[in-house]
Assembly symmetry: C2
């Protein structure tokens, strides 16, 4: 009996535990101070009414023999996949309903997609990076190489032809940096992936925050259908972090190593997954109705205004940052060349604001800091004021 000792290669994640420890210690010493938390990556506004109503109706369906639903389709109900396909069409990406797999979230799919690839593949991720891409591949025993994101490239790493890679993870708009690729930049990645024979694993979880003329899907880029798989989620689009629904797109023609990747993933899901809850699929479909879209746009606009408040203050104070527009995240360079944790302590003790040290997302995150726009307007405005006072 041997366990999977690749788990030993995963660095235990102390980031959020360490934040909690420092915050608790501060609070214990300063019980009267009111903290504002701009570190969390979780939404706070309620689910859109259209989704709640659809979910309740879905629950009621299960109460009656005539409308009861048993095992769902592995790939999701057709009505939801059609709705997602229509959503893609609305911003100019052609994705057919039978290329879509509905799941319980983009994190599950990003993690599980590795099942269809060999452990011998080399994985390219950016640095800083969403830790799931790294950990799920370390767990599988894959070699990982890094594309550095720095102030020099605006935290948007570009392909290096000299670097060989089989699997390439990109997230745009990015978590944690908020930076978003242009069409030309994504075209360069698609061309590189096709030349390398690599598969581009594209995480578009934050696409709904894009306001400028930037691609919202990798499938807006010519050539993507022969190299890309896309993961998206309703978590940030529609406040589904606690409702759990995402989707993965695999073009029917995508092949590697003489295997069709859609069919491999279908077989993986049919073997190790059993579909998404009926009321959740009903709620997800409601998000894509005209009323649902109007409601989610209101929520997203609320978060975007929070992001603007933070971004405007940083601009006024002369602090370098990425994100803040096209993204709920703001990634700032710690003032005075402080390291990430030193700045965390400064912000906590001088402004009573909690954020996330960039060093927790990779080597190139050192000296940077992540704020999020998912708080309330009042708290965000107050945090911005405190931040400004601290800097001046």
């Amino acid at each position: 009996m041997k366990v999977n000792t690749n788990f030993d290669k995963m660095v235990p994640s102390y980031l959020f535990a360490e934040i909690a420890r420092r915050v608790s210690a501060y609070q214990a010493q300063h019980p009267d101070q009111e903290l504002i938390r701009l570190g969390i990556g979780d939404v706070t506004l309620p689910l859109p009414a259209a989704a709640v109503e659809a979910m309740k109706k879905g629950a009621e369906d299960l109460a009656h023999k005539e409308t009861f639903k048993g095992y769902p389709d592995y790939e999701g109900y057709a009505f939801l996949r059609e709705a997602i396909s229509g959503y893609y069409r609305s911003f100019g990406a052609e994705v057919s309903a039978d290329e879509i797999f509905v799941s319980d979230g983009a994190k599950s799919d990003c993690g599980n997609i590795g099942d269809i690839f060999s452990p011998e593949n080399r994985v390219l991720v950016t640095d800083p990076v969403y830790p799931v891409y790294v950990d799920s591949n370390l767990m599988a025993g894959r070699e990982i190489v890094y594309a550095p994101c720095t102030r020099d490239n605006g935290f948007l790493a570009m392909p290096d032809e000299a670097q060989q890679a089989d699997l390439i993870y990109l997230c745009s708009p990015n978590n944690p940096t908020g930076a978003a690729y242009t069409r030309a930049q994504l075209q360069a990645w698609v061309d590189y992936a096709n030349r390398q024979g690599a598969v581009l694993l594209y995480d578009s979880a934050y696409e709904a925050f894009i306001t400028e003329d930037l691609p919202r899907s990798i499938f807006e880029i010519p050539g993507a259908r022969t190299c890309a798989i896309e993961f998206c989620s309703l978590s940030k689009t529609a406040g589904f972090t606690g409702t759990r629904c995402g989707y993965t797109v695999i073009p029917k023609e995508l092949e590697r190593d003489e295997h069709n990747l859609y069919r491999l993933w279908y077989r993986r899901q049919a073997t190790k997954f059993n579909g998404v809850s009926w009321p959740v699929q009903c709620a997800a479909a409601a998000v894509f109705t005209p009323e649902g879209q109007r409601q989610i746009r209101e929520n997203i606009a609320y978060y975007q205004e929070n992001a603007r408040l933070i971004a405007d203050m940083l601009t006024a104070c002369g602090v370098y940052f990425t994100g803040g527009k096209n993204s709920p995240y703001i990634w700032l360079q710690c003032p005075g060349n402080m390291d990430s944790w030193r700045f965390f302590d400064e912000l906590l003790t001088k402004a009573q604001v909690v954020g996330t040290p960039g060093a927790g997302f990779g080597k190139n995150g050192e000296g940077y800091f992540r704020l999020t726009s998912f708080g309330s307007r009042e708290k965000t405005a107050e945090a911005v004021e405190r931040f400004r006072r601290m800097l001046s």
Copy 2:
């Protein structure tokens, strides 16, 4: 770029597709004949009212800022894990809430648990077998060995000390055979697993159908805490096939190869899963209330009566079978030494009843046939009458 070519080792599953093909062909030729389907493994009665109400209340929670729920705990909410722990206690198994992981279903966990073990482990499964155990391990590149279930051992394979195994899958009451292990038999498996240093992966998805004095959990067996992981589900217990909720139990002291298995699984889930939908966890917790338990017992009793009707007819006709009590499945020897598919055709064309050929579950399933009790009372009684007429 290499794909995971272990997928090539998986035999494409034609079982249900072939059933559908033969049924369609028959229906096309005999459009006036009314078929009765006793082949499906899916429930048909509506969800218990307590679960539906809790699910709707959970949906309403998401509509308001004060009660909104974001990312759930990876291992499930404490209130649900406490309820499951109490359920275990009700039939004499001690499982603490912090040994329980809530998930979207036992199939996901049965499939994904392999992530924490080495691909070099040897896997022991019974034959016939629930295909997920085989396919998920073939996919990971593991060697699979079989413990034969036959009429001689009542379709309850017992350990063979000469056979080395690292991972052992048992399902009791069994899918597809309906056979259920006694306490003494499970003790022999637990002792064997402990002697081998193996891990027993115990699927108790059908435990709620047990009526006789048989163990409902592997954790009723002394020694199980040092060798067993248990998977259970609300799919058959409470009609959750379309609602999606299951749970996995890993004793805190379970270690192998100098690793704690609870901690490995926690890390796996934290990396590649994001918890179960809030309204679904609310519905699941309602199943474990006194009212929920009363309601599910009514539904289970309905299916059990269907099973009894089938079993009584087979007994009267002198047909050998397993299951029918302690299980929603009836596994019968095809009359007249017919092979599984020949009997499928006979039953379809002479009685217009659809079942599942046992050969689809493994070599030892040849000559056997599975019926299920998940149909309506009227259809089941009618099918029993037709079956009886065909045999006489």
